[in-house]
Amino acid sequence: MSDTPFIEIRHAAKSFGALEVLKDINLTVERGQIVAIIGPSGSGKSTLLRAINELDPLTSGEVWLEGVQINRSLPHRQYEKHVNQVRQDIGMVFQHFNLFPHLSVRDNITLAPKMLKGMSSADANKLAEQQLAHVGLSDKIDVFPSRLSGGQKQRVAIARALAMKPKVMLFDEATSALDPELVEEVNLVMKKLAEEHMTMIIVTHEMDFAASVCDRVLFMDRGVVVEEGPPGVIFQNPKEERTKNFLRKHLSR
């Protein structure tokens, strides 16, 4: 077990027609590692993240989680089953929350555990209470999503993903749709997860956050990983010209 990497992406490539959005990307992530992916819009960073749980399947290449290939080519029915299974182990948080508006906060969180893991209502309720306490929203359990602020919605979305006890959490620009004053509450929750050694892959354009929380930073541009390293190196001492240009624009703000 210990010699197979926790998450491994091999020769990942994806194209839409003639447009190559990902070109031969290789990445391994160890258990408990926190990786930030930064880069200009259109660099392919979200596409890479969404390839990990097969939301945007790769054109070629492999994605592995704990020795299991995620993007296996299988007959349709088996593929669906397989993907639904592995997605239970991969939590994902979206820019626009994607909470279910017709369900209360409680039901948003308990839906998948009850439905997919056969959890009893009592256990699922307890789980929802724990997860909400974790993100500091215990008092909102019976509220509908429309009554929450953006920051609260995102914290519920994180709690919903955590309730599936995922092995890894993917964050796709989790704070970029939020009003500036609401960003911090979400960042705090993510920091807390980092302290608990949750494996996380974070697509973000918040350089300060990436610098303070992450173990590794990947800079992507035009479908390739231009440079990667510890945040100290990438932010203070980037080697590549493209990285320097990008950081100059984004750190000066």
């Binding site: 997605r87 994607n98 279910f100 017709h102 839906l111 998948a112 439905m115 919903r160 993903a161 599936m164």
Partner: protein, 218 residues
């Protein structure tokens, strides 16, 4: 001949029984049109073309022809092929299918307008396509069209008068029976109209409460 409304109270019980049947037909056909509408919408959007094509034709026929004609077809037509439905059942099926087709059109459009993020959110949690459709997409799509489906329900209540023509003993036919004994059509049809109006007001009140409850969540 003049009008004499004093004859009406003598037939109060007859009208009341008719009213109960009218309500029963409306509820039965209403439920059929609701669930039928969802099923039809799913067939129309996701069905194999072998099912989808004849269904399209069926929907097209049902929306382009009068309900009364459809009731005749179901009641008399099915007898021809050996299915002798009681008038009540034929009436409920006819009304229910007719409005199911209209509800289906609403639900189809509503399903298509559900945000793509909802599918992603559900699929990311590990829900299958079917589970996502059943638990996430369809409930939202249906909630969004409760007001226009409510209007269809009100139209259904009024159109339930048509099943009197195939001999279902509901409110309109009750009035006709009273008329055949008293020869006072004006009084009894007016009384029936008043009964329909009252049921209609109640139905509208129920629908408004439902709409408010849903709006409170959104």
């Amino acid at each position: 001949m003049g009008l004499d409304f004093t004859v009406v109270p003598g037939y109060f019980d007859m009208l009341l029984i008719g009213m109960v049947w009218t309500i029963a037909i409306t509820i039965g056909a209403g439920l059929l049109s609701f669930f039928g509408g969802i099923i039809f919408a799913v067939i129309a959007l996701y069905g194999h073309w072998v099912i989808r094509l004849p269904f399209r034709l069926f929907a097209w026929l049902f929306m382009g022809t009068p309900l009364l004609l459809q009731l005749f077809l179901i009641y008399f037509g099915l007898i021809q092929i050996g299915i002798d439905l009681p008038a009540f059942v034929a009436g409920v099926i006819g009304l229910g299918l007719h409005f199911a087709v209209y509800n289906s059109e609403l639900i189809q459009a509503s399903i298509l307008s559900v945000d793509k993020g909802q599918y992603e959110g559900a699929r990311t949690l590990g829900l299958s396509r079917g589970q996502t459709l059943r638990r996430i997409v369809i409930p939202q799509a249906v909630q969004a069209v409760v007001p226009p489906m409510g209007n269809n329900m009100i139209a259904l209540l009024k159109d339930s008068a048509l099943v009197s023509v195939i001999g279902v003993a509901e409110l309109t036919l009750s009035a006709q029976q009273a008329i055949s004994r008293t020869y006072r059509p004006f009084e009894f049809y007016l009384a029936a109209a008043a009964c329909y109006y009252v049921i209609n007001l109640c139905l509208e009140a129920v629908l408004r409460r439902l709409e408010r409850r849903i709006a409170a969540q959104r």
